[in-house]
Symmetry: C2
Subunit: 174 residues, 2 copies
């Protein structure tokens, strides 16, 4: 099973994220868990989430970048699902060697993510928070899939990027 | 008014964070907003939070580091309180030049935050997410106050660090 953990509070307003989700939602074996829709009061069920993770052979974290990292709901998922004794620490092997693909969309363009740009840093400077969370749990960190400036993409460009994400997932799952 | 935005889901279990909060809670002019206790369902009131921010001349973000950044509740506070047109964007000046002090506690020790350590990076590698959030809103980023390995501090060490935080706040507010 390929587990897509999807975090967007208003997916209907998301052209870019919506296109990505549509492109991968019907890959054979995919299970999508849209956290904001499943848990409107942030009352994440850690056991159900852990069961889904245990059954997964590939984990995809799909979300827009909000304030340089995950939306709060996905952070809450990290906080309550990835606990000591299960996700990490002595004898914890639930996630060991599972590959994890971080698939994100940003509003900023390439220039924004430069020292002179609005965000003052390359995008990679913001990645360690999520990357090290994943690695600390023993997962295998794949090269992230990042779509910058989604709103500026033409429909064709967006279709190409979405197809690229689908290929990445199909290849990884093969 | 000195606004302390405090985010800890179980403050009674936090020796280090508790000592810091106790040391600064009675500084004249301090208002503490403990987000997990105010908003148990994550139903943050953005207007009330913005009003508190507008009245503040110093903002302190006080929390433990969970998964290399803020607990989810403080991330949710960023997501819903710091919106375009108020916190940033054309004509938005609500937070302009307000100083902001990031005051955090970590479980790891200095060695953990090295390339060979458990966290694979110096602590500073994880700071840009919060720092750039604060800076993007036009606030003044003060040198962070970081207590590593709180559980390994003696009572005396902890009292010293707490007193240091109090001094930082008093000096900044003077």
């Amino acid at each position: 099973m390929i587990l897509v953990i999807h975090a967007h509070p208003y997916p209907a307003r998301s052209r870019t994220g919506g296109a990505l989700l549509a492109a991968i939602g019907d890959v054979p074996g995919v299970q999508v868990r849209s956290l904001y829709q499943m848990y409107p009061d942030f009352d994440i069920d850690p056991r159900a989430e852990r069961a889904a993770l245990e059954a997964a052979r590939l984990v995809v974290l799909l979300h827009p970048i909000f304030w340089y990292t995950t939306p709060a709901m996905l952070k809450h998922w990290f906080d309550v699902v990835l606990v000591k004794g299960w996700a990490y620490g002595e004898g914890a092997t639930a996630l060991k060697d599972k590959p994890c693909l971080w698939a994100v969309t940003t509003g900023g363009d390439d220039h924004d993510y430069t020292p002179a740009g609005h965000h003052a840093h390359p995008f990679e400077a913001f990645a360690p928070v999520v990357e090290q969370t994943v690695r600390f749990c023993g997962m295998r960190w794949l090269a992230p899939f990042v779509v910058h400036a989604g709103r500026q993409l033409t429909d064709d460009n967006l279709r190409e990027r979405a197809a690229e994400l689908r290929r990445r997932i199909e290849e990884q799952a093969a």
